[in-house]
Amino acid sequence: MVDKLIWNPKAESMLPKERELLQLERLQHIVKYAYENVPYYKKSFDAAKVKPSDIKSLKDITKLPYTSKDDLRSAYPFGMFAVPHEEILEIHTSSGTTGRPVVVGYTASDIELWGEVMARALSMAGTTKADWVQNAYGYGLFTGGLGVHYGARKIGANIIPISAGNTKRQLEIMRDFGTTVLTCTPSYTLYLAEVAAEEGIDLKKCKLKAGVFGAEMWTETMRDEIEKRLHLTALNIYGLTEIIGPGVAQECIEKTGLHLQEDHFYPEIITPDTLLPVAEGHKGELVLTTLTREGTPMIRFRTKDITGLRHGVCKCGRSTVKMDRITGRSDDMMKIRGVIVFPSQIEKALLEIPGIEPHYKIIITRPNQLDELEVHVETSKKLFSDEVRHIEEIKNNIESHIERAIGIRIKVTLVEPKSIQRSEGKAKRVFDMRNLK
């Protein structure tokens, strides 16, 4: 059972009017602060002919230029820092798999803020002083490990800082220490369950009650699968290095969206092509502005994450805006024969079919000037038959099911069980072999 807890009722259940005033005050301050302390912002505001004093209402934020990941990369390593190095306590970087890494810096007050928002997040999963938090996010330059660590420390929970990997040991500790809250990527939980079965560790007998899972996209069907296999309440967390790391938003036990900590991070949703704002509840790209960060303030950072926002008071008592589960990225959006496809759509369709393991691989090729999408799916006892005819039927069913979900025909290839690489961090599922450069 996960208890209903609110870490900071004053901030999380504030009246919307009151919060807007606080946001405006903070926005005006951060814009001025960024303009005066980060040459990049001075240059970009000047180029857009906008001054900090032009921000008179929250709506005026749209006058400010966007900041993209490329802008941050060109500032490598410390071009986005607003304080002298003496003031920085810690740095983190984004993974840098697609170019130069982005470097962000945290002052003492930033670390405090991070602990605060992570304490709010972990409290949504019912974490208290009495809990054992097994933190299987990687500790290091990646923000996952330390972010969760600071939040759990603020709550006063028992932290098991095991970091990522070493799956057998994770399971032994989970069983022997009586872990109650697990934090890691959703794909890793399924790997844990698989290894638990192999090692004869009964997860039902473990004391897990909740899991705070994020750092990669996942789906409702995957949540069902995780809850069934690990016997816990699986909740979604959102965050990104550029803003602070995990803790930007977190799902409460209502599981109807992620509460975004909008007193510290101001959200907007835009259409990626036109850069215009979208209406409440509609999907678009999330843009975030840090209202209180000192080390590396971010003004209108384009996250590339696709989601929608919903205002209103939640059943849990919080009034913070709720963000939908991320359904794609404006940059990992695949265009197959001109049709926009998100990997999450394929995952969702796949997991609706009984007997399908939640491990898959998407391969895009262009053999004859035409895109082809191939999905590798692992066979399981339920999917395997000794007759070619049946296997072909099963493949056809999967293909049609995915086709109904995404609108284009794909090819399904069945592969042997456990032959798709398991990941201990973010799972790489899409392999684009088209060479479109």
């Binding site: 066979t379 006892k381 395997f384 000794d386 296997i391 069980p417 032959s419």
Partner: protein, 144 residues
């Protein structure tokens, strides 16, 4: 027991997978009595009659294969031209489809041994029994 248990596994179209499966069985000291491979462009299905079904299954699963047990019929066929055709005709007349068929390497009391899988296996056995086709007992088949 007139139904014989066949062990089948899914083979990905990858170099050495058939060998991996056979090695796993060799290591478990399993003797393969008969086998056939159905192959498609993407994958294959290896079907076998083995000396010990539970141990074969365990050995193959331990090596990461998806294993399935299926009931099949083993029949003794007069080893002369037209022997098998006569039997298949019986099934054909009864309107029963044969999903697949393969033969043992060894003979049994001068008969050739053929493994077949029909749709509706009970009806298949009944039809063959009525037509006085020699159906071999499972126990005998595993130890041929």
């Amino acid at each position: 027991m007139t139904q014989v248990k066949q062990v089948s596994i899914f083979l990905e179209n990858k170099k050495g997978r058939l060998l991996d499966a056979l090695k796993a069985l060799a290591k478990a000291k399993i003797n393969i009595r008969a086998l056939s491979v159905a192959d498609t462009a993407d994958y294959g299905i290896l079907r076998m009659i083995v000396s010990d079904v539970p141990r074969s299954k365990a050995a193959l699963e331990a090596s990461g294969f998806t294993v399935k047990e299926t009931e099949v019929i083993a029949i003794g066929v007069n080893d002369q031209p037209g022997g098998l055709a006569k039997i298949l005709e019986v099934l054909n007349n009864a309107g029963l489809n044969v999903e697949y068929v393969y033969a043992f390497a060894e003979k049994h009391e001068n008969d050739a041994i053929v493994v077949l899988r029909t749709e509706n296996i009970e009806l298949g056995i009944k039809t063959l029994t009525n037509a006085k086709v020699k159906i071999l007992e499972a126990k005998k088949v595993y130890s041929i």
